[in-house]
Amino acid sequence: MITIRKLRDGLAGLSLALFGGGVMLCTLHYPVGTLANMGPGYVPRLLGGLLVLLGLLIAGTARRGQPVVRQPLAWRPPLAVLGSVVLFALTLRSGGLLLATLGSVMLASSAVRGVRWRERLAVALVLGALAVSVFVYGLGLPLPVWPRFGGI
């Protein structure tokens, strides 16, 4: 378990400044143009610089005396939840809606510890049936329901 202490504001500010710097680096390729005829780089470079400034300000003014809140950073929920979205994205086209739903719901529900797999499977099956009936048959969305075999 990782705890984020009062470093929080400093870290936030620095990463924002870093991002702003990255943006400015990217805009080196884009022409800036003139005030009358701004190029694609004009506004982004301006904003990137502003973000660097703001980030440094945030980092610099991070108050030390602030009461520190222990915020546990658990890895399990983000991995399971966001992973299930990625899994859904990767399996929908080839595996069809039903399989993609089953897989991603099973993965997502592993975010909560101590749920029996039978219960998770039941939820996945119910949601799969619901998704197919509401979206494909109800709303008529052009989504594949079944897996595609052999490139057909």
Binding site: R8, D9, L11, A12, G13, L16, G20, V23, C26, Y30, P31, T34, L35, A36, N37, M38, G39, P40, Y42, V43, P44, L47, G48, L51, L54, G55, I58, T61, P67, V69, Q71, P72, L73, P77, P78, V81, L82, S84, V85, V86, F88, A89, L90, T101, S104, V105, A108, A111, V112, R113, G114, V123, L130, A131, F135, L139, G140, L141, P142, L143
Partner: protein
């Protein structure tokens, strides 16, 4: 009274059995779509278009319009219940709607949203009926310079909106502005910040960002907050409004309706502007702005009313000038031409039955929506008592399907997951996502209008000050920023900050 005569004509046309039925189907379908996150009314209207070929033009338009305002309506439900903006324009409703729901006041929030929307819809419709013809030029007076100043005003508001650190809010706005610039530059055709991903050429989708930063991040936070067998809210509370809440909400509804009605007339202002401006106005007038963001009923009433009022008055530039203010309106133009109606100044005079029939149907549709939604409030509340370990996979799944169907793109889904992570990290860093979303939506508009203004003025920036409307907006923006920096506003923010920390400290003990 010419107006009454016109409305009588409209109601007689809209009250036929077929038109009532299409109005009903449209608003029910719209509500359903609004409730399902990501699935936009655009895709639905496009799919239904062939079905309307066989209908008389009025029935077809009534149904499509019903989907449009029904979706506005339904989008607020998921915002309140799940912190999930079903439509991008209802993202503002999340700010106070969801905290209300977590405090067990979901019933009050939903009721206020329904009644406020109904009231605003009626006023907007009346406004449309009375002033459609004289107001056509208002939209034309708004040139690029005025839009640019309006965006600056909006960005100033986004900073004031912050309930925590001002500096972080500024940084979030700038970050949003930068995210909004991803994609093809309108002026030069150059592609910016896409890193070779073709799907990014048209920019990051609003729904992608909103569902990721608000919805997915909220699921992650919810999972941290809750224990194995818990539900989203411990108490259900009373369904109706208390007298206090009613007293607080009524003026907010009135102000929101007024502001939404005006902003709806501007086709270039973007979908989020009315709701957001109304929210900022409420916070600005409130005696205790510290309540906002933690479950203030005005924070639901005002943006919901503004949203719906604007949804009605947006028909003015559409019907009288043929200028769509969003993708749904563009679709309506397509539907009209397919039915041999040329949207433009002559619609009112050439086709009075159609114009007034459509106006009257909006009134009927809004009434149907209230009748439909108020009984549903109880049902929605029941949803919150479902164990969260069953509820969150369902939310996640519906989001995924919705995002995918937006443009049948796998990349969009991966991006949404990425923004979910970003939203989660931002929350951990105590940065608010609302200014980010506003910067994101206003950013491209700001850049486009800024560059166009300077092109047309041949590089002379004094146009912003020499045009009266633009000057007024810039002065208002300056005033807004000044009030945020006054000592009293600072004190309130500091209070909110410590209160938040008290909450956070108290949380683990719960």
């Amino acid at each position: 009274m010419e107006l009454i005569e016109h409305l009588a004509l409209g109601f007689s046309a809209a009250a036929s059995a077929q038109n009532l039925l299409s109005c009903f189907i449209g608003s029910v379908l719209g509500t359903l779509i609004g409730v399902l996150p990501g699935i936009g009314p655009v895709a639905t209207i496009a799919m239904l278009l062939p079905l309307t070929y066989g209908m008389p033009p009025l029935s077809a338009l009534i149904m499509l319009a019903g989907i449009y305002y029904g979706a506005q309506y339904g989008g607020s439900t998921t915002s309140i219940m799940l912190n999930l903006p079903g439509e991008a324009s209802s993202a503002i409703t999340c700010l106070d709607g969801h905290p209300l729901a977590r405090r067990g006041r979901a019933g009050a929030a939903l009721t206020v949203a329904a009644l406020g929307s109904f009231f605003a819809g009626c006023v907007g419709t009346l406004f449309l009926a009375a002033f459609a013809a004289p107001l056509t030029t208002f939209a034309l007076d708004f040139g690029p310079a005025e839009y640019c100043s309006l965006m600056i005003f909006g960005l100033a508001g986004a900073i004031v909106l912050a309930s925590k650190s001002l500096l972080k809010a500024c940084a979030m706005v700038v970050l949003g502005l930068l995210l909004g610039l991803v994609g093809t530059d309108v002026n030069s055709g150059a592609v910016r910040f896409t890193f070779g991903i073709r799907e990014l050429n048209d920019g990051i989708g609003t729904a992608v960002l909103a569902v990721g930063v608000f919805g997915f991040a909220e699921i992650l936070l919810g999972l941290e907050r809750l224990h194995e067998h818990s539900t989203l809210t411990a108490r259900c509370g009373r369904l109706g409004l208390s007298r206090d809440e009613l007293r607080q909400a009524t003026p907010a509804v009135l102000r929101g309706t007024g502001l939404g009605t005006l902003l709806g007339l501007l086709p270039g202002a973007g979908a989020l502007m009315p709701a957001f401006a109304a929210y900022a106005l409420e916070k600005w007038c409130a005696r205790d702005p510290g309540r906002f963001g933690r479950g203030a009923i005005e924070g639901v009433a005002a943006p919901e009313s503004a949203n719906n009022a604007a949804a009605q008055t947006a028909f003015i530039p559409l019907l009288t000038l043929g200028i769509p203010s969003n993708a749904i309106m563009a679709l309506m133009i397509g539907a009209m031409t397919l039915h041999d109606i040329q949207p433009g100044p002559q619609v009112i005079s050439h086709d009075p039955t159609l114009f007034w029939g459509l106006v009257a149907s909006m009134w009927i549709g809004n009434a149907m929506l209230v009748l439909l939604n108020l009984p549903l409030v109880g049902l929605w509340i029941r949803l919150l008592t479902t164990p969260y370990r069953w509820l969150f996979p369902a939310i996640l799944l519906f989001c995924c399907i919705g995002i995918y169907t937006l443009s049948h793109s796998t990349v969009d889904l991966l991006l949404t997951a990425f923004f979910g992570l970003l939203g989660y990290l931002l929350q951990k860093f105590d940065c608010e996502p609302a200014p980010l979303l506003l910067g994101f939506i206003l950013g491209p508009l700001f850049e486009e209008h800024l560059r166009r203004t300077l092109l047309l003025s041949r590089g002379d920036p004094s146009v912003f000050l020499s045009r009266p409307l633009s000057l007024v907006l810039l002065l208002a923006a300056a005033a807004l920023l000044c009030t945020a920096l006054t000592p009293s506003a600072r004190r309130i923010r500091a209070q909110a900050l410590t209160a938040e920390q008290d909450d956070a400290i108290a949380d683990p003990a719960r």
